[in-house]
């Protein structure tokens, strides 16, 4: 009987180890930060101060998930969209994407920029054999798309576990 209980206890200890294992996924690098107007926005940071600073949006949608509580939210600021996602009741900056040429990244990317200009900024290799350049920084990524040899989309996304 003792052996049985030892097996049982060992199982419970194993159960504890299995359930409590946490995968750390952190890098030293900071996530992408954008400056839009006078406002600095860092991917993966709380959205509330950013949304307040940006002022009233032109449009707004909420997207619930299939089953979970909380809403993904998308704010339309005319030249760009800001999407947030909820984690433990707090909305975080999840995605920003540009839709007009009157906003630019700090390194000079904007919608409509010619391919050569984009290659100068992102690096020639980034677009090799593809219309997309994806750059990872910290736990976030930037994706630049080309269409007809011009930048057609610039999107920043937080890589959330």
């Amino acid at each position: 009987m003792k052996r049985l209980w030892i097996v049982f206890l060992a199982g419970m200890v194993l159960a504890g180890l299995v359930g409590c294992a946490v995968t750390e996924h952190q890098t030293q690098e900071e996530n992408w930060t954008l400056t839009l107007g006078q406002i600095q926005i860092t991917l993966g940071t709380p959205a509330e101060p950013v949304v307040t600073a940006l002022g009233e949006s032109q449009g707004y949608t909420e997207e619930p998930s299939c089953a979970f509580d909380g809403l993904d939210k998308t704010y339309d600021y005319g030249s760009f969209y800001l999407a947030t996602c909820p984690i433990d009741g707090i909305d975080y900056v999840y995605r920003i994407w540009f839709v007009a040429a009157d906003v630019a990244t700090e390194d000079g990317l904007y919608i409509g920029l010619e391919k050569g200009g984009a290659e100068d900024i992102c690096g020639k290799d980034c677009f090799r054999n593809s219309n997309a350049c994806i750059q990872i920084q910290g736990n976030s990524k930037r994706m630049v798309l080309l269409k007809d040899d011009r930048v057609s989309s610039i999107e920043y996304t937080w890589i959330v576990e």
Binding site: L14, S65, C66, A67
Partner: protein, 345 residues
């Protein structure tokens, strides 16, 4: 004598472990009801002429009771929250061990998730996997479904073992237990109506949904492979496969995706119905027929979509009216009662 005592002790130990497991696993009765859907099928298996498979776009947008009442079509929705195409395939494979329907209707949205890593936030993916797989009965199909579904993170944290022994996954719920866990420790109440999860609220569509453009609109190889397996599985069993895109406004169904599905359907002589393109014919009113601003239909919208779909199934696909079968009528009368009760009629 010693052997007898040892056997009794083992039995007691196993019973205690089983009871602990029953207590600690989520019940999915009042919260996250979607998690109960897979398991509710087994009590309703058999005599379903139509099986619908897919994610929330099927279990919230179509009503089997309406299909029955309007056309005498017997159907069941084998849907689950964010069901991936590999899960659809294995659920279908399992379904065919219980019954061979005349028709399978597959909602194509999940084609956009090529692998477990493509399905969004990984913490949610694991929970979605649990909601689809935990209440699936053990079989080779379940085993394969788990293998296909686990994320890299799940594999690191116990993998298959936690599906075999859910206690390993849920032991830490001991301090989150609620009344529901005790009430439904040994029995569950049905949350759905032949797989349809009823929503009665109303929240009108306010604005158009937007998503950034994609770098590549081609569906992935894994998705295509599973769609082909679904098609072949149906073909082998003499079951007609129909593809649909449910009338949900978000996630956006890109035109490039539509083209690929149209092409696939045409090349395999499959019927493909995109209900997004039939909103006027269905009579959908986005002010009244949705409970979450256009992502899913409420019961009013689901009944409209089902009436539209049922007409096509009966008139163009020859799915029979079974209302002359007295036994079936009696069984469905019970389902209708429960449905009316939840609807508040």
């Amino acid at each position: 004598m010693k052997k007898g005592k040892a056997a009794i002790r083992i039995l007691i130990l196993l019973t205690v472990i089983q009871m602990l497991q029953n207590l600690l696993v989520p019940k999915y009765v009042t919260q996250f009801r979607e998690g109960a859907l897979t398991g509710e099928y087994y009590a309703n298996a058999g005599d379903n002429d139509v099986i619908l498979i897919g994610d929330c776009e099927v279990y919230e947008n179509f009503s089997p009771v309406t299909l029955w009442e309007e056309y005498g079509i017997t159907s069941y929705i084998r849907g689950s929250a964010q069901q991936t195409i590999w899960q659809s395939y294995y659920l279908l494979e399992e379904t065919f061990t219980y019954e061979i329907p005349q028709m399978v209707i597959f909602n194509v949205l999940s084609m956009c998730y090529d692998t477990p890593e493509h399905t969004g936030r990984q913490s949610q993916r694991e929970a979605y996997n649990r909601m689809t797989l935990d209440t699936m009965r053990w079989s080779a199909s379940k085993w394969k479904a788990i293998c296909a579904s686990m994320t890299a993170q799940e594999k690191e944290q116990g993998g298959m073992l936690t599906y075999l022994f859910p206690l390993l996954r849920y032991h830490e719920r001991w301090n989150q237990l609620t009344q529901e866990d005790f009430t439904y420790c040994f029995h569950r109440e049905a949350v759905a109506h032949n797989g349809y999860l009823m929503q009665t609220g109303v929240k009108p569509v306010q604005n158009d949904y937007v998503q950034p453009p994609l770098a590549d609109y081609r569906f992935g190889q894994n998705s295509w492979a599973y769609l082909e397996r679904i098609r072949t599985l149906c073909e082998e069993h003499g079951v007609r496969l129909v593809l649909i895109k449910a009338p949900s406004l978000y996630p956006i169904w890109w035109p490039q995706w539509e083209e690929q599905i149209e092409e696939y359907a045409a090349s395999h002589n499959l019927m493909y119905l995109n209900l997004l393109e039939q909103q006027a014919q269905i009579g959908l009113d986005w002010n009244t027929d949705t409970y979450d601003a256009g992502l899913h239909l409420n019961v009013c919208g689901a009944e409209k979509a089902s009436k539209w779909l049922g007409k096509i199934l009966m008139e163009e696909c020859g799915v029979p009216n079974r209302q002359k079968d007295a036994q079936l009528c009696a069984r469905w009368a019970q389902k209708e009662r429960a449905y009316r009760e939840e609807k508040g009629e």
